[in-house]
Amino acid sequence: MLELTKAQMLQAYRSMRTIRFFEDLLAREAAKAPMPGVLHLYCGEEASAVGVCMLLDERDRIYSTHRPHGHCIARGLDLKAMMLELYAKQGGLCSGKGGSMHLADPDRGLMGANGIVGGGMPLVNGAALAAQRLGTGGVAVGFVGDGGSNQGQFLEALNFASVFKLPSIFVIEDNGYAETTASCWSCAGDHVKRAEGFGMPGRRVGGADFFEVYDAAGEAVARARAGGGPSLLHLTDFERFYPHEQGISDAMRPPEHLRWIKENRDPLNLFICRVTTSGQLKQGELSAIDKEVAALVEGVLAEAKEAPDISAENLLTDVYVSY
């Protein structure tokens, strides 16, 4: 088991709490007044983004999904720029060209959320190939859902990564459902065996447990940095707390099942229980972080609401570098 310092544990908690607070607030705001576009919320999956991204540094790249807020926050993207983008305001992270599903910040190693399930997976190998050829020691992580895990592009990417022993790490966030379709029905066979079939180690991981994710990702990152090639992590036994997207039916999950998930598979509760029971962190330290995070996110929201809208003159910029 990888050891974590107290500062790292506080950082992990802060990051997970920020995701939770940011998204719960978005959900409340979106219910009050419509926001532009769609919101795919990540709550319930915080241990995945944070458990993996805690191990990464400036050499590393990640490719996210259509449910990207957690990955963005875990990689330290600017919350205000994210919020401005979600509200289509000036100063938004992608100048109003992206929205929730296309958040990106290469300076933080986040090479793009992706509206196409599985679409980022071949790109992960490109970042890994560049790291390998340039000798940076960097790794590339691709997050993908259980839906994306069945895409041909993903399966091609697994083969390609293995053939070239790339420092690629594929993280399947199997949150139980591709939109409304249950992953236990839609994913034939077994993800760990799929990985083995492509000649790379695969590991099944309890996705709600930060420490378990951190440990498994640590092994994969170390292996990739050492030139040992790609790995696959199958994060399972956790679910998103919100519907596939805000405002859409979530009725494929019986209400009592969702209640059970929230009571028993909440990554934040599991983390708090673990670190306070063991005496590693005190409840007071965590509560102080809660207050700071709430103030920060609420402040960012207020600024975003006040900010001017994106102006139409941005329409024609950034299609090409030069044309």
Binding site: P122, N125, L129, R133, Q153, S322
Partner: protein, 356 residues
């Protein structure tokens, strides 16, 4: 006449023999790649069988690409930079695009443009949109070389002219040389460009030769070339059709009909001004495009002329294209499918005699 080339020349040496000034498109492309790879160590090339023999017990660099374009690059640059891949186009094109936004300048080979279906998401939803949808934060200097075109009897799944599919996508540049001089200069320009470029090479043109300087040079993207100038009819021709248009123009000149032939050289950016100026000079336009006719470069260029040079037109715009069918196999069928110098000549004569 349309199909004078009837076989694929597999066993070629791509390197220019010493002192030879006229070289083929194949050699020109090979020389451009080698010179650019010497200049910039960030350039890698990857694709299926681009060297050949990877993982096998026998000869390496056995093909140098299916058309011999990359022959000899493996011995000089090694497997670190000349990367034979498995046969999986999404993985190849995706890896090239991902590497391009992370510090390399890859040149990927998509063996035939027909295989674009396998990797279309990487072009359609990924690389073409990175710069825009990420608010200008991502730069993707990737060149994707691919082969298009009919005439070699390889039928429906290896012969299409799908360049209009990629020209439709904002964020991509599309380049289509018609001769060896342009092939070298345009490929160097494409590799040095910071946007994703689809570089289209005609299957039947690889052995076409012309004078090509040995030193590296750039033919800028977005500048059309007038291969001849005449006062009667403007022919805009694409890729291999430039050769056919010039053959037709030679014939017509003996009857006193003088043509301007415009080779756009790049479809995106398209040198609209040069096309419009040529149409305004002659008042008559024939567009020659090997692709099928609907939603094509032919219709696009015709619409451009109709909207920007309407007042100058003395006759309806004429389009010489393939019919709206897949590419057939049998020589008699494929010859009938393709535009030819004869068909171009007839189209020119028709616009010349048009009276309101």
């Amino acid at each position: 006449m349309a199909t004078a080339d009837s076989s694929i020349n597999y066993n070629t040496v791509s390197k220019r023999p010493p002192g030879k000034s006229r070289i083929s498109i194949r050699m020109a492309l090979n020389e451009a790649l080698a010179q650019e790879m010497r200049r910039d160590s960030r350039i890698i090339i990857l694709g299926e069988d681009i060297a050949g023999g990877m993982g096998a017990a026998g000869e390496q660099d056995t093909w140098g690409g299916p058309l011999g374009v990359t022959k000899g690059l493996l011995p000089e640059f090694g497997r670190e930079r000349v990367i034979d891949t498995p046969l999986q186009e999404s993985a190849i094109i995706g890896a090239a695009c991902g590497a391009a936004s992370n510090g390399l300048r890859p040149v990927a080979e998509l063996m035939f443009i027909n295989f674009i279906g396998v990797c279309m998401d990487q072009l359609l939803n990924q690389v073409s949109k990175f710069r825009y949808m990420f608010g200008g934060k991502v730069t993707t200097p990737v060149t994707i070389r691919t082969v298009y075109g009919a005439g070699l009897r390889v039928a429906a799944q290896h012969s299409n002219s799908y360049y209009s599919l990629v020209t439709h996508l904002p964020g991509l540049k599309v380049v289509m040389p018609s001769n060896a001089y342009d092939a070298k200069g345009l490929l160097i320009a494409s590799i040095r460009d910071d946007d994703p470029v689809i570089f289209c090479e005609h299957l039947a043109l690889y052995d076409d030769e012309c004078e090509v300087p040995e030193e590296p040079y750039v033919v800028p993207l977005g500048e059309a070339n007038l291969t001849r100038e005449g006062r009667d009819v403007t022919i805009v021709a694409l890729g291999r059709m430039v050769k056919f248009a010039n053959a037709a123009a030679d014939k017509l000149e003996t009857d006193g009909i003088r043509c301007t032939v415009v080779d756009p050289r790049t479809l995106s950016p398209l040198d609209e001004d040069t096309i419009i100026e040529a149409v305004e000079e002659t008042g008559r336009l024939v567009v020659v495009d090997e692709a099928t006719p609907r939603c094509s470069m032919a219709t696009d260029i015709s619409a451009l002329a109709a909207s920007r040079a309407f007042g100058a037109l003395k006759a309806p715009i004429s389009m010489v294209t393939a019919p709206h069918t897949p590419v057939p196999f049998a020589p008699a069928l494929e010859d009938a499918y393709l535009p030819s110098p004869e068909k171009i000549e007839k189209a020119v004569r028709d616009v010349m005699v048009y009276r309101r």
